[in-house]
């Protein structure tokens, strides 16, 4: 393994082109993350066309640079102007902005940058350590288990994307349907082509994604004429000198908060669809609960900056663990990366790390190195960011719309792809306006072919559909899917209601059943712990309500 790591390290670190591309990617990510109205996913999607001509490792390293840069870029605008650049840096603003207003902008930025760095490094180490183990676990999965895992990934995306559950499910189904249009991969039969040769080839992933996400986002950005014509940010900030040394010392003093927040970030990242936007709030909340002086929070507390920034960068590592080990994207950004790898004919999954060790470890090392670039390039990006914010949104939107067309065309050199982008841009814009979440649809598009393929494999092996319920891993994921579907109802239910009281204990107990079925000592122990925990929780609820 060490040989592979060293070899992969040499591929990334000794190639000046890869390093240069990663640096450009990180800088672009820092800017995309910093500019309100732009998202990290959009930054990664727009980088994709440039990666077609690159080797897989160069392409993925560039996109990892954008990803890491984007997660850290949001803190610049959040701290200096009070407007978070991305949803993953919302909580940073709570204490970052007050600290800047208290006359310590250099320290605030230093804390943000170095917390992001350390959070990222902790998750990079976890990524290297755990991804191969999880992949090893994934080798136990059969097509039934994979099918159920994808169902779980889709349902949890729907339940976490907020808003209306039915609309989320419709969005996911539309994504799955978009993936079935065109030639069937198993039999080679045309589906829903309506006699068109172009549609027979199916919708390529990139035009669909750019249309749904970037195109529709740009239209939303220019909707308000007055806002579109004014500079990106009404408030501008002065250039700041980052206080690196003092920030590092303060972070080390608060190492428990750093580690706790990083762990929260990693776990949130591993969960399909739960990205940095959730982890930064969770980590901030936990930091506040654990703090000796809670009243400091919201007024420029050091821990209030460390927690969200460490968590959102750590989320990236968690999301990459899922993508690399099981081929399931942890969030929209990793869904795009998964698509990018597919364009390069690489399909991550349990055997990916074993079959393509150089590429897999190259990804891990790129993620590690990108954090160093992020620290180095932060000052430069701050200067560029202050200039970019003077540009009105309509100018950026018009230029990027044209770029989208050129980028999409470069995928297969066919104009039909631009039409696909345009069509899905219309759908994406309508969905945004009508309150349909886009994340389930994107995940549906990405995982659509995979879910059908696994269903076909499962039915080819056996026509017994009960295997979906009798195989432990499949039952485990189906149980998780049911729990995730019921989660929004639990959130909105009254605590005194039966459902509100017993959702958590029953969910815990039901998860233990498939674990018992796995018949391994460790899993039996986990199952026993879950069942005991579940019954204890149930007993507490019953006792509290004087049922006995």
């Amino acid at each position: 393994m060490l040989d592979t790591i060293l070899q992969a390290g040499a591929t990334v670190l000794l190639d000046p082109v890869t390093l240069g591309l990663m640096a450009i990617g990180t800088l672009a990510g820092l800017l995309a993350g910093a500019i309100p109205g732009f998202t990290i996913a959009m930054g990664v999607i727009l980088t994709l066309p440039f990666t077609f001509g690159m080797s897989p490792i160069q392409g993925i390293a560039t996109m990892i640079g954008v990803f890491v840069g984007g997660l850290s870029g949001g803190l610049m605008s959040g701290m200096l102007t009070g407007i978070p650049g991305t949803p993953s840096s919302v909580a940073t603003t709570f204490d970052g902005f007050p600290l800047v207003r208290a006359g310590k902008p250099g320290l605030a930025l230093g804390l943000g940058v170095w917390s992001s760095f350390f959070g990222g490094i902790i998750s990079a180490i976890t990524l290297v350590a755990f991804a191969p183990q999880l992949a090893f676990l994934g080798l136990e999965f059969g097509p039934w288990d994979y099918f159920s895992l994808i169902i779980f990934a889709l349902t949890i995306t729907v339940s976490l994307s907020g808003g209306n559950m039915v609309k989320g499910l419709i969005a996911g189904l539309l994504g799955l349907f978009a993936a079935v249009v065109g030639e069937d991969e198993i039999n080679g039969v045309a589906r829903f082509a309506f006699g068109s040769d172009e549609i027979r080839q199916g919708f390529s992933f990139l035009p669909v994604l750019i249309g749904l996400f970037a195109f529709s986002q740009l239209l939303t950005d220019v909707e308000d004429s007055e806002r579109a014509k004014s500079p990106l940010m009404a408030k501008t900030a002065d250039p700041v000198r980052v206080e690196h040394k003092k920030a590092i010392i303060l972070i080390f003093k608060s190492w428990v908060n750093l580690v706790r927040s990083s762990v929260i970030g990693i776990f949130t990242g591993i969960l399909p669809a739960a990205g940095g936007s959730i982890s930064n709030i969770l980590a901030y909340d936990q930091a506040k609960k654990a703090a000796k002086n809670r009243s400091e929070f919201g007024k420029g507390a050091i821990d209030g900056i460390i927690a969200p920034e460490a968590a959102n960068n750590a989320t990236a590592g968690g999301a990459l663990i899922m993508m690399m080990a099981l081929g399931i994207p942890g969030d929209i950004v990793t869904a795009v990366m998964l698509g990018a790898l597919m364009i390069h004919d690489i399909i991550p999954g349990p055997s990916f790390i074993k079959d393509e060790p150089l590429l897999a470890y190259g990804v891990f090392i790129s993620f590690f190195v990108a954090h160093f670039f992020m620290v180095v390039l932060q000052s430069l990006s701050l200067k560029i960011f202050l200039q970019v914010t003077k540009i009105p949104m309509y100018i950026l939107a018009c230029v990027i719309l044209a770029y989208c067309a050129i980028g999409v065309f470069s995928l297969h050199n066919i104009v039909f792809d631009i039409w696909v982008m345009f069509g899905f841009g219309l759908i994406g814009y309508a969905m945004r306006k009508l309150g349909f979440p886009l994340a389930p649809m994107i995940l549906g598009v990405v995982l659509g072919k995979l879910i059908e393929l696994n269903l076909a494999r499962a039915t080819a092996i056996s026509d017994n559909y009960l295997l979906f319920l009798s195989r432990p891993w499949s039952l485990f994921f189906i149980t998780m899917a049911i729990i995730s579907v019921l989660f929004p109802f639990y959130q909105s239910s009254k605590k005194e209601s039966f459902f509100g009281k017993f959702y958590v204990p029953l969910a815990t107990i039901s998860l233990s059943i498939p674990l018992f079925m796995m018949q391994s000592p460790v899993r039996t122990f986990v199952a026993a712990t879950l069942i005991l925990g579940g019954f204890y929780l149930m007993y507490q609820k019953v006792k509290k309500n004087n049922f006995i």
């Binding site: 609309k167 189904l173 039999n187 909707e223 044209a402 470069s410």
Partner: protein
């Protein structure tokens, strides 16, 4: 409130869409091999879409029926169309310009078409005075020129030349 009305319309459109697609799924060829047929999975997805759309329809319908304020609401179609046009003016302009760009791509090519698209869109969305027009013209030439050069020479992509440049 208005969201409920739009939900009702969307659910009807989704049901119609599902019906058309379910009907078309009967045209998917069966090659006669064992195992899962090509129309099996799409049909599952479409029937689930029918169920979900029906739930959305039912929920919106019941909500509207139980709220007399919405069901008795008399909407002047003229006012509705005008207010929608004003609200989404910029989005409509972007769509129209992009469609024009796509339809003329074969004749104008990516370079000329791209410059015209960016210039036109900037002028429609931005301010309409001499200074702004000059600024928009320069932005469109420089941005599309750079992108065209990067993709053509840097990434070796053969962007559509268009009949005009082809003749030259």
């Amino acid at each position: 409130m208005t969201h409920r009305i739009s939900d009702l319309v969307v659910s009807i459109l989704l049901l119609l869409f599902s019906a058309v697609m379910i009907n078309d799924s009967s045209n998917i060829r069966d090659l006669g091999f064992d195992g899962m047929k090509a129309d099996f999975w799409p049909k599952i997805v479409l029937w689930l879409l029918v169920i979900m759309s029906s739930i959305l329809f039912g929920k919106s319908f019941i909500f509207i029926k139980n709220n007399p304020a919405i069901s008795n609401l008399k909407i002047d179609n003229k006012i509705l169309i005008i207010s929608t046009l004003i609200k989404f003016k910029n989005a409509f302009i972007c769509f129209a310009m992009f469609m024009f760009f796509l339809l003329t791509l074969d004749y104008l090519g990516m370079l000329i078409g791209g410059v015209l698209f960016v210039f036109g869109l900037l002028t429609f969305l931005g301010n309409f005075n001499f200074k702004s027009i000059v600024k928009h013209f320069l932005i469109s030439i420089i941005s599309i020129g750079c992108m065209w050069a990067i993709f053509t020479y840097g990434l070796k992509v053969m962007l559509p030349e268009g009949e005009i440049l082809n003749v030259w």
